[in-house]
């Protein structure tokens, strides 16, 4: 997911490109958004809209107060807003969405310098804040509409508790499972991702590498004994597809091999968290941990720009 390509300043590609790219991403998320309203009710729409408005407003206010160039309408805040809402269950209190949005935009993105300068994915960091400070308030999952389910433990949580759930693979693929707003319907997410592929905005290799790594790790080490894991449930349950398609940042300053290493690292950590920690889902931690390690990667896998000498202070131009 290319969040980094638009940069401020006198470059060949300016704000218009960012707006187009981010607009495409927002468009790609629309099927999943429709799905969330279908599965979880109109409150999903309320949460998403609140989140988007909060993010855009935060960015607007910040840039106005600090006298910076106003980029609040380049759709990147919109995408962040949608993704923040997509990671929480429909029962989340609205105030927490607002706090998460403000934190994601101002602390994680703007304080570091705005789009392209932040090292952590803002949407994931926003969710991480909620998990750290108010963990109990964002785990009240409910069954999806159109199912017979009485229970509401997510697929991965049920698997971690040792009980296999009663959701068929089709259920998990279509989205008839309890879960966060945007993560349940893999079908709709993949439709959007397909659109992004068509527009050339997804790094397919990186996303696939990430998914495969998670599946391999959970298959080999999960399930209580060697090779006892359940790859299909790991693929279809939880936010793996959401994360792989929309939240794996694409870094322009490391080589293609470096980006692969980044995806694999994220995958390994996601898998380990799913198996060994007390959290049933590890996508958030995996990608964020990889975000932290990008600097190390950049040290060794720097993209070589032909015709220039690498100078530590030079901001790498495309």
């Amino acid at each position: 997911m290319t969040e980094e390509q638009g940069r401020k300043g006198p470059f060949l590609r300016g704000e218009n490109t960012t707006r187009r790219i981010m607009g495409d991403v927002a468009l790609a998320l629309m099927p999943a958004l429709t799905g969330s309203v279908y599965f979880f009710g109109i409150r999903s729409l309320l949460l998403v809209v609140t989140s988007v408005i909060t993010c855009v407003l935060s960015e607007l206010v910040w840039e106005w107060l600090t006298g910076k160039q106003i980029t609040a309408f380049d759709f990147s805040a919109v995408v962040t807003g949608i993704l923040i809402a997509f990671q929480v269950p429909v029962t989340t209190p609205v105030i927490l969405i607002i706090i998460s949005g403000i934190f994601a935009i101002i602390v994680v993105k703007q304080l570091f310098g705005g789009i392209g300068s932040n090292f952590m994915n803002p949407a994931l960091a926003g969710r991480l804040l909620l998990m750290v400070v108010w963990p109990g308030k964002i785990i009240q999952y409910v069954p999806a509409a159109g199912t017979d389910a009485v229970s509401s433990a997510t697929v991965l949580a049920a698997m971690k508790a040792g009980e296999q759930g009663n959701y068929s693979w089709l259920d998990m693929f279509l989205g008839y499972v309890p879960g966060a707003l945007g993560e349940t319907s893999k079908l709709l997410l993949l439709v959007g991702a397909g659109y992004l592929c068509y527009r050339g905005l997804i790094n397919v290799k990186a996303s696939l590498a990430y998914i495969l790594t998670v599946l391999v790790v959970t298959f080999v080490l999960g399930g209580g004994h060697l090779f006892g894991g359940d790859p299909v449930t790991n693929l279809l349950g939880g936010s793996l597809i959401l994360g792989a398609c929309y939240m794996l940042t694409d870094y322009s300053f490391i080589s293609a091999r470096g980006r692969l290493i980044y995806s694999v690292a994220a995958g390994i950590i996601t898998g380990l968290v799913r198996i060994y920690s007390s959290y049933p889902e590890g996508v958030c931690f995996g990608i964020l941990a990889a975000n932290c390690m990008v600097g190390l990667l950049a040290r060794f896998e720097q993209k070589h720009v032909y015709g220039t000498k690498y100078d530590k202070d030079q901001k790498t131009a495309m």
Binding site: P135, D148, V150, A153, T154, S168, V232, S278, Y279, P280
Partner: protein, 338 residues
């Protein structure tokens, strides 16, 4: 230059001496106020030497008397350690001065699953224990039924047990056990979903799927039943903390519900009625009652029933166990004072 050398040494010596003086002075002055606070600050805690009591339950980690402003015991604090689902559970309990109710409690450490067992930290769960008459029992929990004594004759017949409440997957457990000539000859374990559909049927026709390869739920239930009939007992199963057993080939599901149901049927067969529930740790046994609920729900006649965390029965029970052990300890302690 020599001058500077001297200056240097003198400065260093002076500074070091003054530094020591300053540190000692601070310690002296600081200690003065420490002593004062020891005596009169309300809330000061004085440790109780648990080792001085004979058979203290190993779950009790530490205990304190909380002094009020006059220096008398205004309350008691106990830290307990019990076994939860993912690991040890450390509870901090503050009792009132008679040890009758809990005024405050906190989960200090836990290893429970996020989103399930970890909900025991939430105020919604913990608030239930504040200022209510102790001891506490989990709603709809039955004590682990005691197997009738060796040699008790089982009456021939068919005995059924049904759970009142569904487990967190939405299925209500049921069991039908048949005794012929004093021995178990048939055990049928099933579970019904909200529409009354049977898990056995659903797993047979492929609607209830756990893993693609491996025995279905019904096959595992039947394997368990066969093993128990062959052994005429459930002891060999020895479920671990998560309810899994190694004793029967091909069975990988959690079996605590199954064991509880069998015992309840046997209790019926032996003609003894189940007693009103004790506190969940009364038996002190290794067995954990899983999410199976027996037909006779608990009401001990004293104390309070509370709601467990839905889907996290083992975690909830660990909390209850900690509370009751702390309560027992305090009551014993107060008994030794009089």
């Amino acid at each position: 230059m020599k001058d500077n050398g001297w200056k240097g040494i003198i400065t260093l010596v002076i500074v070091t001496v003054i530094a020591f003086g300053v540190i000692l002075g601070a310690n002296y002055f600081g200690r003065g106020t420490d002593k004062e606070t020891e005596q009169s600050v309300a809330g000061e805690q004085k440790e109780i030497d648990i080792n001085s009591f004979g058979n203290v339950d190993p779950a009790i980690q530490s205990a304190y008397r909380i002094l009020d402003e006059q220096g008398n015991a205004g309350g008691y604090k106990v830290v307990t350690k019990t076994k939860g689902y993912g690991g040890d559970l450390l509870l901090e309990l503050v009792f009132d001065k008679n040890g009758d109710t809990i005024t405050r409690m906190e989960v200090l450490e836990h290893n429970e699953t996020e989103g399930l067992g970890a909900l025991i930290k939430e105020p919604a769960f913990l608030e239930q224990f504040k200022n209510v008459p102790l001891p506490v029992t989990l709603k709809n929990a039955a004590a682990e039924p005691e197997l009738p004594a060796e040699g008790t004759a089982f009456e021939d017949g068919t005995y059924t047990v049904e759970a009142d409440q569904p487990d967190y997957n939405g299925y209500r457990n049921t069991m039908k056990l048949t005794i012929t000539d004093g021995k178990m000859t048939e055990i049928i374990w099933d579970a019904l979903d909200a529409e009354g559909k049977s898990k056995r049927v659903l797993s047979d026709n492929g609607e209830y799927v756990m893993t693609e390869s491996g025995p279905t739920w019904k096959e595992q239930a039947e394997a368990l039943a066969a093993a128990v009939i062959e052994n005429q007992s459930t002891d060999f199963l020895s479920p671990d903390d998560q309810g899994k057993t190694d004793a029967v080939a091909g069975v990988s599901i959690s079996i605590t519900d199954f064991v509880t149901l069998v015992k309840q049927c046997l209790v019926q067969a032996a003609g003894t009625q189940m007693e009103g529930a004790q506190t969940a740790d009364a038996a002190g046994s290794e067995d954990l009652t899983g999410s199976a609920d027996a037909a006779g729900s608990a009401d001990s006649g004293r104390g309070t029933t509370v709601d467990g965390v839905s889907g996290a029965t083992i975690s909830s029970r660990a909390v209850i166990e900690g509370i009751d052990k702390g309560y027992t300890f305090i009551k014993n302690y107060l008994g030794t004072l009089s």
